[in-house]
């Protein structure tokens, strides 16, 4: 064998080895993430697919009739009770998400621009209540707003009202207040992150070009932090639409949301297909609502500039 042939032989052997190495970078990554990925696939995707499948079947006493039908969707969309529950859930989640973002923006702004050396302490202080039990936080609102609650007894003690008011608890507003409180931290974080990314020299440039603090906020800071505002809206809106605990504890008759109906179908009512259809509809509708809000905000954001 000539030296040249030897070398090209060695080179091709290298090419093969390099090939397996390249594949192995891909393969190592896939192999490493696959336990977690498979877990999410089996315990999230598969169950959601099963729910979607159920929504096209019917309950036949204790068994499931697996003939394809849209009957559950017809019921879910035409029965006034479900329509009302769905509408109220959407109204509540929309209101709550807008309120939380509205309340969270100034605090995120304050931490980002005036937090100084204590930024992470501020964030920690704000997120701590969020980490503690959701159930307990909702419960404390019940204690505050109840007939014998803190608010009533406090107002009576101050002589503002003569007898306990029943208007605080067990209505839609109680649900909105409680949820807004519960999701506050969730809205602060994404807005804070997007504010941190704003290059401070851009604001100086705006000032240099003649903008006052309010104009430079509207023309520079706000448009640049829209992505944070949008993700804050979504991260609050989507989970709250299916909230179960809050309407149960503080919502009363007027504050019932769709999750209660879903729970009833799966537990007591034992009509899985109807419960499944309600779940699918809730998810679809909230996704459409979220998408259209993102669209509207982006359009509005373009106008401001």
């Amino acid at each position: 064998m000539t030296a040249a042939a030897e070398r090209s032989g060695a080179a091709s052997a290298h090419r093969i080895r390099r090939g397996t190495l390249l594949r192995s970078e891909q393969a190592q990554g896939i192999a490493l993430i696959s336990p977690t990925f498979l877990y999410a696939l089996i315990l999230l995707v598969a169950p959601v697919l099963v729910v979607i499948a159920h929504s096209f079947w019917t309950q036949d006493f204790l068994t499931i009739d697996r003939t394809f039908t849209l009957e559950q969707y017809r019921i879910a969309l035409t029965e006034p009770i479900y329509r009302d529950l769905l509408a109220r859930s959407l109204y509540i989640s929309l209101t709550v998400s807008i309120l939380t973002v509205f309340l969270a923006y100034p605090i995120a702004y304050y931490i980002s621009f005036h937090g100084g050396a204590h930024k992470s302490l501020w964030l920690f202080v704000i997120t701590i209540p969020f980490w503690t039990s959701y159930l307990l936080r909702v419960m404390s609102w019940k204690v505050i707003l109840g007939y014998n609650g803190v608010l009533n007894s406090g107002l009576m003690g101050l002589g503002i009202i003569d007898e306990p008011s029943t208007s605080f608890l067990y209505n839609t507003n109680a649900v909105i207040i409680t949820l807004t409180h519960a999701w506050a931290a969730f809205a602060v974080l994404p807005i804070f992150v997007s504010l941190e990314k704003v290059d401070r020299t851009l604001l100086e440039a705006a000032k240099d070009l003649g903008d006052g603090p309010i104009r430079s906020f509207l023309r520079v800071t706000l448009p640049l932090t829209l992505p944070g505002v949008i993700s804050a809206l979504l991260i609050v809106m989507i989970p709250t639409v299916g909230d179960y605990v809050t309407p149960k504890l503080v919502g009363g008759k007027d504050g019932v949301m769709i999750a209660t109906a879903i729970e009833t179908q799966f537990k007591r009512g034992a009509n899985w297909p109807l419960g499944a259809a309600l779940s699918v509809i809730t998810m679809t509708v909230v996704t459409v609502m979220a998408a259209s809000i993102v669209f509207v905000i982006r359009q509005a954001g373009r106008r401001v500039r």
Partner: protein, 362 residues
């Protein structure tokens, strides 16, 4: 044994998909040599260094260290050690523990390990700082720890990946001297990657200049500086005047070219020069042109007019317009003799040595 090969790189290429980071590099680095890989970022110098260290695998070709082919041998079993660009000082260990990191596996015994750590720390002038935490070190100290940590392993080859780029100018210059001294003291082969031509020129025995994944020239610093093979190399190693020249004749290793001003010049033919080419470039460094005062004479001279001047303290840079040249010439003149007095617009005569003229491949 002088000139014994330490690293033999034979036809090594590295491809990422269709992008070739390194293209068919062949190079021999000698034992005990201070060798630099010099080039702009993305020229493949770091890729080559990482393949010598064993962090990357060549797509083609082989690398042998001290006669041993390195195919399939992982980084932890190669007789090389590396000083990383970021220094990669283990932040959870103190200086002693960092330096002893690799020794732990050799199971030398506590006393011998201690002795070698102390010796290495002394080599880099860090004696007494062994208990200092990794996070309490200055940039220069981190660099020394990285050096000690690699040297303590007594490698056959020490690899340095832009080791001075994170230091400020003063410290960088000081460390250049120290690195060179250290290399001569320990006698280990050093391979340095840098994009700083002064660093490479000042420290190395030999330099490989690289562009776009290819090795353009391998030679001693003075050779690289004075006789660059092409315009790219010439340009990367400091300023050079380029003049279009007609090829008169080529003959073996010699080439004769003709330009306005310099006239006919016979010089070395650059390697890889295509004899069919009719036009090429003649180059001369700005400091090889000198201003002729009053009636001073030189054997070879050209005349022109000063069109601009830039004062740099120890030197002044003149831009001189020479009739017949497409572009102006740069002349750098020491201010020892009052060159800073020459005004713009003054006529000037420039003397030169024909040896300073280099024919360059494009």
């Amino acid at each position: 044994m002088p000139d014994r090969p330490m690293i033999q790189i034979a036809g090594v290429s590295k491809a990422y998909g269709s992008f070739k980071a390194l293209d068919d590099a062949t190079l021999t680095i000698r034992e005990g040599e201070f060798f630099s890989l010099l080039g702009p970022s993305g020229c493949g110098k770091t890729t080559l260094l990482r393949m010598i260290a064993g962090f990357d695998t060549p797509t083609e070709g082989t690398i042998a260290i001290d006669g041993q082919p390195m195919d399939g041998i992982p980084a932890n079993r190669r007789p090389t050690n590396m000083v990383f660009q970021s220094y990669a000082i283990f932040p959870h260990l103190n200086v002693d523990q960092n330096v002893a990191y690799g020794l732990k596996r050799l199971k030398l015994g506590a006393a011998e390990e201690r002795r070698r750590v102390d010796e290495a720390l002394a080599q880099v002038s860090l004696s007494g700082l062994g208990k200092r935490g990794a996070t309490e070190l200055s940039g220069g100290q981190r660099q020394r720890v990285a050096l000690a940590r690699a040297l303590v392993m007594r490698p056959k080859v020490l690899l340095l990946d832009e080791p001075l780029s994170a230091l400020d100018k003063k410290l960088r210059e000081q460390m250049q001297v120290e690195l060179r001294r250290l290399q001569q003291a320990v006698g280990i082969t050093f391979v340095l990657v840098t994009h700083d031509q002064y660093e490479a020129l000042g420290m190395s025995d030999r330099i490989a200049v690289m562009f776009g994944g290819r090795i353009a020239q391998v030679a001693a610093p003075s050779q690289i500086y004075q006789r660059p093979v092409n315009r790219q190399v010439a340009d990367f190693l400091g300023g050079m005047n380029f003049i279009r020249a007609n090829v008169v004749e080529t003959n073996g290793t010699a080439i004769t070219v003709e330009t306005a001003g310099f006239g006919r010049v016979k010089t070395e033919k650059p390697s890889g020069f295509n004899d069919e080419t009719r036009e090429t470039t003649l180059g001369i460094r700005p400091e090889r042109l000198r201003v002729l005062w009053d009636d001073a004479k030189a054997k070879h001279e050209i005349a022109g007019t000063i069109v601009d001047r830039h004062y740099f303290g120890e030197i002044t840079h003149f831009i001189v317009d020479v009739p017949g040249f497409e572009k102006t010439l740069s002349v750098s003149e020491s201010n020892n003799f009052g060159a800073d007095d020459l005004p713009v617009g003054a006529p000037v005569r420039l003397g030169y040595d024909p040896d300073a003229l280099v024919a360059l491949a494009d």
